[in-house]
Amino acid sequence: MTPQTTTIAASAISVTKEYGSGEDKVFALRDVSVDFYEGQFTAIMGPSGSGKSTLMHCIAGLDELSSGSAIIDGTDLSSLKDKELTELRREKIGFVFQSFNLVPTLTANENIRLPLMLGNNKGDEEWIQKVIDTVHLQDRLTHRPSELSGGQQQRVAVARALASQPHIIFADEPTGNLDSITGAEILTFMRKAVDDLGQTIVMVTHDPVAAAYADRIIFLADGHIVNEMTEPTADRVLDLMKSIGH
């Protein structure tokens, strides 16, 4: 499947991220430039320490860049103050993390609507119901996270990320803590969100099977983009990973 549109949802331009200084200076990202397209499911892959999570954090406005710029929907994040950046995350970005995705004191329903409520925004009720239907959470809405299984918790997280119809969704190893069947379920929901609901998703993963759900895969190693693949399958991903010495 090739991208239906070439509109850019988010991009990194010459992004460099370094830690420490002098002799101890370590580069997490070196001069990385990449565009993410609207309506596309992109996976970022790479071995541990390759900088894949750092790249995601930088584009999502969770981490500061050493140089270069990260752009979401035409806005350069480095120009924003903390409050504006927070509001941008709330309104334009959805997040799914590996674990500890939900606020333990809030119900599933409240967790789904959390970003909207934080912005005093009622949201599009019809859309929210559709999202809840899509992830099959109708009968779990009044439960608190401690009463939900790991898979259910991740479904709530996906629903939260979708609820505000964000410009782009970032998922950081969303299936990392799940068994393969539950993981597949979550990935199917994410795929559906892109295909049926027209969302844009960027997912960080090290799992070739998970990456195979994406439209496009970007491979990172030692802070560089080393390869790219469209219409992947798990086998092709594995082969490529072997060839780049994963």
């Binding site: 969770l62 927070t86 997040f95 500890f100 333990p104 934080l118």
Partner: protein, 846 residues
């Protein structure tokens, strides 16, 4: 294990500081009050040993009437005894001594010295004498009827210099003198803040008391015989009819020191009581911090257990931490307490109570007992959390989150309810008729029960209190509400110190409101005048009796009547008798006479309160034998009974009875009824002028007078509030510590919230409202308990004449608002810390 414990402590300096803070505060109050009391005691001991340094023998009357409040009235001796003593062998010098009421009037016409229950104002003798109490700092000693010397502090306060005219008020009226000397007492400007006017011995006797009478003789020996022998010889030389006793210098010093000491002891016990309450409140905070810390270290402890540490070792490690915290905290507390006590001394000095600067007394006892108590309290508070820490299963190391198990057990419910039921049963038993002494026990059980039930009730109550926050503050308020209820044990432990503080404040406030209400009622019924002249010197002096006579002669005055108070010995016990003027008292001051007229009160009669008459079985017509302050005896016939004993006490006599005696004759108040139909300002102006002539006494309208009476309760209330502040401060710090630890514990959650779009100000709001809800939780329960406690205390004071309980509605609302504000302020730092959570660090913590 010891090393692990130590490393654990040093590895978490922030927590060490937080835990120690509670210990430091508790022990510093303890040490501070103890150092302060010791310093005060030492100061007065030194003062009196200085004062009587050159006095080897002391002659005074054996006739004394002791009354309530430790007051005594000793009869005077005749001044001719001085001549006998002076001629005795072994006597170098003998000097008469008088200490009586006198008040120096300032240049602006206002009397010097502080109002209310402040230090007394005295008149005394200032003469050259080898054993003199006073030295002249400037000028010379007064000679003759027109000269006066005053103490340095008064000279400074009144801006008087030598050569000025000084007006002084005493029993015999007011008089103007020329200032010839400024005196110092030992090495202080004035003893304990009292004011002194000094005269030569003849003038002193004539102006201050009665001509020819003195209080005592001070004797300085020539050293040829011992003080004991000298005293015995003097005593033997004095006529038995003079009824004297002779003390040695050491004896009078010790006696005076004891008297002051017991007054100071009371003050010291009061201070200590409140610092122990504060320390008790501190226990909750220490307990809470250790509990949270144990919960947060659950995984770490589980890991230690998994690799082979025994339960005991885990518990011991935590107790070692408690010992270190207790020791460090107590030592810092002692140092902080010394600072605190010097602050208290500075405060007293600012209030013009000059205490000699002999330095702070830090006794070894204070230091060791404070450290010991601090250590014990800390370790005791840590025992339960430490035991719980040891019980952690090794498997808990594998669990994802380390949340405290928050389900309160059934046992807790039963114990709590049982304790409250027992307490209430005791209180009911007392109300029905059991002895009042059980009340304290009943209250204690109710308190314990409430605190035991805390974890069970805190969740529903916090959720209820959090409703407005959730409603009006949207998601942040809703989260604050949930946060305050998510760990009921922790919330209730944090709220408990607030609960105790607020309960005590509320109880004291309710008591004060009831007393004030009663005073209002009593004065409204019994005080019938339009104006009153009052004085603050109720025991050491007062208004000249001629003031009432003067006022009666004014055309604007319908009637004016003076009321006095004398000490009388009845059945070998000192009693206060109210003196009235039967000719004028009617319609001015109503004592509720039953079957009698005021004119029945002749100089040979007495009126008794109805309740006293019934209690002591002394009916109308019976005879009562009394001894006056001048040792003369009287037989009085009961000619009337009266109902209102709140102001008049149990005994009312005719003031004419003491007119010609040696008894001090003062009015403590003059009540005035104005002529009808005259403009208020005119009457007031005339009265003001008449009162001012005496240089003493304050003219008040009826409402001002009643307000002033109930206002005296405010002074005491202020003192107790001040002392309870210690507990409130600790409760406040407790909230801060708990919030900080909670914020630390919820880092990941905060990181997540920040990531999905919670702004810093929303984070602050959440923490702030959680704090407010916790504080209000304590306040609401505290107010309920406090009102109950107040009611119980008022009930217990029924026999003391307190009959009606009044609910302090406005103060209660004020306490709620204050608790709200305390919650807001306590949240400031923790909320700031919460906004500083690094999102990525928080999310990456596993």
């Amino acid at each position: 294990m010891f090393r692990i414990a130590l490393k654990g402590i040093l590895g978490r300096k922030a927590r060490l500081i937080l835990t120690s803070l509670a210990v430091i505060l508790g022990t510093s109050f303890l040490a501070g009050t103890s150092v302060f009391s010791d310093t005060l005691n030492r100061t007065f001991d030194n003062l009196f040993s200085d004062v009587f340094k050159n006095v080897d023998a002391y002659v005074r009357s054996t006739q004394v009437i002791e009354a309530d409040f430790g007051l005594e009235e000793r009869q005077r001796i005749t001044s001719d005894l001085v001549a006998i003593v002076e001629k005795m062998p072994g006597v170098r010098d003998a000097s008469p001594d008088i200490q009586a009421f006198a008040r120096i009037i300032g240049k602006d016409g206002k009397p010097l010295g502080s109002d209310g229950q402040g230090p007394p104002t005295f008149g005394s003798i200032g003469e050259e004498f080898a054993g003199a109490l006073w030295d002249t700092a400037e000028g010379k000693w007064p000679v003759g009827p027109n000269e006066v010397a005053i103490d340095e502090a008064s000279a400074k306060a009144g801006k008087y210099v030598i050569g000025d005219s000084v007006k002084v008020v005493a029993q015999s009226g007011s008089r103007t003198f020329t200032l010839v000397g400024i005196a110092s007492y030992g090495d202080v400007r004035s003893p304990g803040g009292a004011t002194f006017a000094l005269f030569d011995s003849i003038t002193a006797a004539e102006f201050l008391t009665k001509p020819g009478y003195i209080d005592a003789i001070l004797i300085s020996g020539d050293g040829s015989v011992s003080d004991t022998k000298l005293s015995a010889a003097i005593q033997a030389a004095l006529p038995a009819t003079a009824k004297t006793e002779t003390l040695t210098g050491a004896e009078i010093t010790a006696e005076t020191q004891d008297q002051i000491g017991s007054a100071l002891d009371f003050f010291g016990i009061l201070l200590q009581t409140f610092s122990f309450i504060a320390l008790g409140v501190g226990c909750f905070v220490i307990y809470n911090v250790f509990s949270i810390s144990a919960a947060q270290r659950q995984r770490e402890n589980a890991l230690l257990r998994a690799i082979g540490a025994s339960r005991k070792q885990i518990t011991r490690a935590m107790l070692i931490e408690a010992i270190v915290v207790g020791l460090v905290g107590s030592i810092v507390g002692v140092v902080a307490g010394i600072g605190l006590s010097s602050g208290l001394s500075a405060l007293l000095r600012a209030l013009n109570i000059d205490i000699p600067s002999s330095g702070l007394v830090v006794s070894q006892n204070t230091v060791t007992s404070t450290i010991f108590i601090g250590l014990i309290v800390t370790v005791l508070s840590a025992i339960l959390p430490a035991r719980r820490a040891g019980k952690v299963p090794p498997l808990a190391a594998m669990r994802a989150t380390a949340l405290e198990i928050a389900e309160p057990g059934r046992k807790r419910l039963y114990v709590g309810l049982g304790s409250i039921a027992l307490g209430l049963a005791i209180i009911v038993a007392v109300v029905v008729g059991a002895s009042n002494t059980y009340l304290g026990l009943g209250i204690l059980f109710v308190f314990i029960g409430t605190i035991v039930l805390g974890p069970i009730i805190s969740r529903p109550v916090a959720l209820f209190l959090g409703r407005p926050a959730a409603r009006f503050r949207g998601i942040t308020g809703a989260m604050a509400r949930q946060n305050s209820a998510r760990n009921p044990k922790r919330t209730s432990r944090t709220a408990s110190p607030v609960l105790i503080g607020v309960a005590l404040v509320t109880a004291v406030t309710a008591l004060a409101a009831s007393i004030k209400g009663q005073i209002d009622d009593v004065f409204t019924v019994q005080f019938k005048g339009d104006y009153a002249v009052t004085t603050d010197n109720q025991f050491t002096g007062g208004l000249s009796p001629s003031l009432a006579l003067d006022l009666n002669n004014l055309p604007e005055v319908e009637k004016a009547s003076g009321i006095g108070l004398i000490t009388v010995k009845l059945n070998d016990k000192g009693q206060y008798f109210t003196t009235i003027d039967p000719r004028t008292v009617e319609g001015v001051f109503d004592i509720g006479l039953i079957n009698a007229k005021y004119s029945d009160l002749t100089t040979n009669s007495i009126f008794l309160s109805e309740s006293y008459s019934i209690r002591k079985k002394i009916p109308m017509g019976s005879e009562v034998k009394i001894t006056l302050g001048d040792a003369t005896q009287r037989k009085l016939t009961v000619r009337g009974l009266y109902e209102f004993d709140e102001l008049a006490g149990n005994f009312v006599v005719n003031r004419a009875m003491i007119a010609k005696s040696l008894v001090n004759n003062f009015d403590i108040g003059v009540y005035i009824v104005a002529k009808k139909g005259l403009p208020d300002e005119e009457v007031r102006g005339t009265l003001e002028k008449a009162v001012k002539k005496y240089g003493q006494g304050t003219l008040l309208s009826k409402s001002e007078y009643i307000n002033k009476q109930s206002g005296q309760v405010n002074q005491l209330l202020g003192l107790i509030y001040g002392l309870l502040m210690l507990s409130i401060v600790i409760a406040f710090v407790g909230i801060i510590i708990t919030l900080l630890l909670s914020v630390f514990e919820r880092q990941r959650e905060l990181g997540l919230l920040r990531a999905v779009g919670m702004t810093r100000s929303q984070v602050r709001t959440t923490v702030r409202w959680e704090s407010v809800i916790t504080s209000l939780l304590g306040a609401v329960l505290g107010i309920i308990l406090g009102i109950g406690l107040g009611w119980v205390i008022v009930f217990a004071l029924k026999d003391q004449g307190l009959t009606s309980f009044k609910l302090p509605i406005i103060p209660t609302i004020f306490i709620m608002i204050m608790s709200f504000i305390v919650g807001l302020f306590a949240a400031i730092y923790p909320a700031w810390r919460a906004t500083r959570v690094n999102i990525l660090d928080a999310l990456n913590t596993n």
